[in-house]
């Protein structure tokens, strides 16, 4: 066997293992398929589920930090802090008003948290408002909202 032949056979072998390897990997990572998407939950419905129809007032006690322009809707950092003693805050709900399911995350607090604070990364399908609703211990609700411009959507 001369050098030329040796290179040909080994490179072929390398290519075939690479192809086979990726095929096997694809099979392993392939997700389950279904015919229908999950049920849609528009913003009004989601808000009603959270508040039970109670009024929600705007408040500057809810600090919502989100970018004005998100280049990638798949990863939008959002931070919410309620500037009240944590004993008075029961939960923070983050909603995205034009997503398929407007509910994004609900966080429930106890006094052991020390601070009503949540920071996470969410997906936005298009340009929309991000709404932070705080549920207070006395049963009332306060909120803050911020429009976020999205250039590439993140929900498929």
């Amino acid at each position: 066997m001369n050098r030329r032949d040796f290179l040909k056979t080994t490179s072929l072998a390398a290519v075939s293992t690479a192809v086979l390897g990726s095929a096997v990997f694809n099979n392993v990572s392939a997700a389950e398929l279904t015919d229908s998407p999950p049920p849609k939950k528009p913003f009004d419905e989601a808000l009603k589920e959270i508040t039970g129809g109670k009024p929600v007032s705007d408040s500057d006690k809810v600090k919502l930090i989100a970018p004005e322009i998100a280049e990638n809707g798949a990863v939008v950092p959002v931070t919410v802090e309620v500037e009240l003693p944590v004993e008075q805050v029961k939960a923070i709900h983050i909603l995205a008003d034009k997503n398929w399911n407007a509910k994004t995350i609900s966080v429930y607090f106890t006094p052991a948290n020390g601070k009503a604070y949540i920071s996470t990364r969410i997906r936005l399908a298009e340009t929309m408002n991000v709404v932070a609703v705080a549920q207070l211990a006395d049963g009332s609700f306060i909120k803050a909202q911020k429009p976020v411009k999205v250039t590439i959507g993140g929900c498929g």
Partner: protein
């Protein structure tokens, strides 16, 4: 198989009564159920975290309902008041019944 998860606390040195920020990340695809498979035209089934629970010692101090529109490999950060030496346990549950736990120790003098 348990998923890979990472938990960090900030600041690293703290005293009793200090507020510490807990940053957590778990490796999870967070499939929303809205993405179509290119070959078959069917939807890729929803597979995402639904619940996160945080225990400090025996006490459940915070819990979350998570929906599909949280980004893949979800990052979650929250505060804890360091009042005692106890393990801090974070439990992630997804809609297919997978459970991942991660424990870190909080030590105060």
């Amino acid at each position: 198989m348990a998923r890979q998860a990472l938990v960090k606390i900030n600041p690293k040195d703290y005293k009793k009564g200090d507020l510490i920020r807990v940053d957590s990340v778990i490796m999870h695809p967070m499939d929303t159920g809205l993405v179509k498979d290119k070959e078959s035209g069917k939807y890729i089934a929803a597979h995402h975290i639904t619940n996160v629970e945080v225990y400090y010692g025996d006490e459940k101090i915070t819990w979350m309902d998570v929906y599909g529109s949280v980004s893949a490999n979800p990052f979650i950060s929250f505060y804890v008041k360091a009042t005692k030496t106890a393990p801090l346990k974070i439990v992630w549950k997804d809609n297919k019944g997978e459970v991942t736990e991660k424990v870190i120790d909080i030590k105060v003098d």
